[in-house]
Amino acid sequence: MSRTLASAIIASHTDQKAATGEICRVRVDFAFANDITGPPAARAFRKMGAETVFDKTRCALLPDHFTPNKDIAAATQTKEGREFALEQGMLYWEQGRVGIEHTFLPEQGLILPGEVVVGADSHTCTGGTLGAFATGMGSTDLAGAWALGETWLRVPETVRVVFTGRRRAWIGGKDLVLALLGKIGVQGARYKALQFEGPAVEDLPMDDRFTISNMAVETGAKTGLFVPDERILSYARKRAARDFSPLYPDEGASCAETVEIDLEELRPLVALPHSPAKVKPAAKCDDEPIHQVFIGSCTNGRLRDLEQAALLLKGGQVHPEVRLVVIPASCEVYKAALENGYIKTFIEAGASVCTPTCGPCLGGHMGILAPGERCVSTSNRNFVGRMGHPESEVILAGPLVAAASALKGRIADPREVLSETDLSSLEVKDDE
């Protein structure tokens, strides 16, 4: 049988045929939850009569959503998760040594090519960048995976997404995935897997790829896979916490659909309230004032994102009526941003810089919006009330548009701040 990457990975983890559409019992290589989804998973685990997780080195709990604890209820919840993790002896990292799960776990080499990874968080699909079938599920499903080391998956159809044309230096992963959302919509890949390929992503840095896979779920997809290339394998080899065997799609494997995204004419994009698919070029948006800009999250809180924001903000000042909140997505990112001078640039420009957390992305803490406030955010969802009051608005964008908007006090294209020549310093270098 000729297989797509998603199908090939599932087939290698089950004793069944793994035909498209078949529900298979699938072996799991890694299973994790966070401070919100972990405690209900722990309770379900006990209700199942499970005593120990299937493998302590392949099960993890990460405090990242409401941490550092935002209030007593969150502190109590985090404590319950921590106690379960310590009792089980599974992987757990304390605040100050962790990061947002979808940034931190790949950095630790805990999500690897060819693997099946499940997480009690919808953005688990981020791990698809490594050529892993990484997918989100709820707490009870995750408890089942912790107990049995397996889960059930329906073998999905695949939508191939082919990126073509020349990618300009100021076009990043966020623009690519927003262009895809604009084209196929928020349910364009429901129940399916995305497989990203094409000449325009061959030299795309890992951080941009993580952004693209991260928002696969916004199209309804189970996961968003990149086929392992030298860039992915070298990232994985440097960090791998265990052995791994990359898998590849068969030539000519049949797909539900092929979507082509031409980058030739692509301009920096935003998604307007209240849908990630309500996509528009930043330069064509209104001049209404914005009140906050958030640069961070599992979508765009990595080093390359902060490098881009710093390039625009260097020597400038955040608009007097705008609050800029910058949150590096992991401690590794934070430290590197500090060493590279980005954090100094942010603080000198008038930003508040916070410790790694999901924070405001899901309306948790560290930047909640009041009624009537508008926020340009590098995160992944702009649903009603996502970052605060139901009458607040979230505009999704990449780090360049976010930084330009912070300076201008309205939605702005980065080329309003720096010339195309200056922005060309963001061209991919060989060592990235």
Partner: protein, 171 residues
Amino acid sequence: MNKTITGQAWIFGDDVDTDVIIPARYLVTDDPKELGAHCMEGIDPGFPKTFPKGDILVAGENFGCGSSREHAPLALLGAGCGCVIAASFARIFYRNAFNVGLPIFECPEAAKGIRKGDDVEVRPAEGRILNLATGEAWTFPPFADFLQDLLDSGGLVPWVSRELEKRRASS
């Protein structure tokens, strides 16, 4: 999920996301009653107070899109929702609803045909949805064998317990 469910229809559109079903700021508990007190607040602030126990939600495509929070089906259960009929469901919500025992039925024709306030009856064993107000009836396909086995076991928790028992017995 095999019991007949009867209630009045409350209509929602496409792409109802988990942030409006239950906003993240309430995710410091997984008690269905506490969550239910804020259910659907993002779309209709009066929903939790006015939704009568046992009524039915009818929605368009992609119901429950967004986050993996199991709190979303729990909030609907806590609010007294009898079941959800939708043209389609987002996949994580679909799994979660099964796992926490919220009955859900995928039926695009019924989702389109039912109007606000219609009395609706769902007969899961027969795979039928009846609009008692208009006499219309629709069918939906049976669940896949594996999912039916999960349901027959009483949900994922007892299913995993059974698997663990089998493993203990054979080791």
